[in-house]
Amino acid sequence: MSEFAARTAGCLSRGAAAVKAQPIILMTGLVMALLLQPAHRLESQSTAEYQVRVDSLRVEWERKRDAFIELARELGPARIDTIRTGPFTVLVDEPLVELMSQAAPIAWDALRAELHSDSMLAAIKPVYFPSGGGSRTTERSEDVFPGPWISETANLDEVVDRVILTVGAELRLMLDEPSRLWLSANPLARVVAERRDWPGAASFRWIYVELATSGSAVGRRCFDGHLPACRSALELEPASDPATEWYDALDRRRLIVRGGVPRGLGTIEEWRSCTEAGDDIACETLFRARLEGSVTHPVSTVAHQALVETALQMGGVGAYGRLVLTEAPTIADWIAAVARAPADSVIEVWYSDVIAARPDPTTLTAATGWGAFVWIIVLAAVATRSTRWRS
């Protein structure tokens, strides 16, 4: 027996002796230690140490990049093939041709079913997908939309997803900068989720909690079903005075308390008058000073994006085309054009979706309850199998 094994056996035999003394206490201690073990302690590092690590990573990255470029030079330019499905064109590196020949028609059918718009479909540029980690370089062209690299070992579904999501990214870039904020990171992610039968985004559940616990008066009124308040909270028209339109005196005071002692935005006397004496004039002054720096919006961009998703679903055929091509004076007009319905109707549907998405209370789920019940029965049955003879 090795020295280590002997030591281990010694420890275990000492452990067994201890068990004889107080088995329950030891067992309890170990079980509780297992359950309540703290997370690994994080070691702090100074900025200088952090900088050294970042620098070393940068050097390593540059070294790897140079090696890749060298390898790409040795291999020569990759051969690119073109795959056409209707008006949709995909360019791929040679190793991906077979896979993409199968994937492109499936992706195209899914895109056509979702976009329903000839003008929109015609606007999609050819997409180029490199293979093998992007080690080979190709000439860039404004007429070709660059897709992500695809592994040669990817399966058909993964390639179809990549194509759909790349077109989604292209679609997003067709919008101007402010409009993009109203669109989720990839507007076609839902298509992929539906195709693969993945659970949909939990955004409406999230918005429900956001409104139910809103720190702005307009958000709370929206939660209570006041649709003009929802319109205001969603900022379909620019607020004339956010400080009073979105927030009441209590909200303003809370935001000032939360922000702590002001630095360059108002005086300490004003801060004290607001937070300690509850003087709303002081709160409003400080609040307006802060608004100039950064606006605290009544709802998050998730709520905005969910509204556009609702409009797209209401809009049906051609909705994506109108989303990209409509030039409306206000967001409300844009939403109305996409949905082919008044903006208030879209808000009404959005609101009912939010309220319908009320999350289940987390206090006790049926699965947890039944799981615990089964364990109680099983362990109690195990206990009854214990022997009366001690050893």
Binding site: T8, C11, L12, G15, A16, V19, K20, P23, I24, L26, M27, T28, L30, M32, L34, L35, Q37, Y208, L211, A212, T213, S214, G215, R220, F223, D224, L250, D251, R254, L255, V257, R258, G278, R358, P359, P361, T362, T363, L364, A367, T368, G369, G371, A372, F373, V374, W375, I376, L379, A380, V382, A383, T384, R385, S386, T387, R388, W389, R390, S391
Partner: protein, 221 residues
Amino acid sequence: MFRVILQSHWNWSKLLLGPGVVAAFALPILSVQQINEPGYADWSPWGTAGLLRDVESWGIWYAALAAGLGLAIATSAWGSDHRGGHVYALSLPVERWRYVLFRYASGAVLLGVPILSFWLGALLAIASIDLPDSLHAYPTELAVRFALASLVAFTVFFAISAGTMRTAGYILAVIGGLLVAQLLLATAGAGVDPLEYVVDRLTSWPGPFEVFTGRWMLIDV
């Protein structure tokens, strides 16, 4: 016979049970005490979201109390048998399984007292506060969860206590072995974490301790 076992179990555990009952009653009330203070809405900087966070921060104590009560009652159920070398059980004219069941049932009945106390405390706590319309109270759901968690803890420790020293030794050896394996693998830099895997399986559904984890919310959306 059950009455006698229940009576003796009560005698052995009443000193532990008393503080447990008081704690179970007081905990839900304490969890909303801050909300109950005059002007909470005025001084709480996070408003309703802060209220939920305050309530959530008490969750660990609900789980700890449930585990503690289960342990205390399970330990007291077998304490005198262990001390007396299990002679009393051998002298009784009943099958072992029936005797164990009586012991288990007496523990479960005694555990019912703090559980009932917890439920009453939760109901009282909710009755004492004004909630915003957007929030809801779940005193009964929380009490059911507390009951299940207490019973799981009680049953686990009861089953271990009902076994022989050898059984307890085996369980301890498995846990010890796991710790040693974890240590060796970590030292060797294997990148495998068996301890985390086992704890994860035990504390996530359908593991036995899943009922202890997650959010214990007396108030939620």
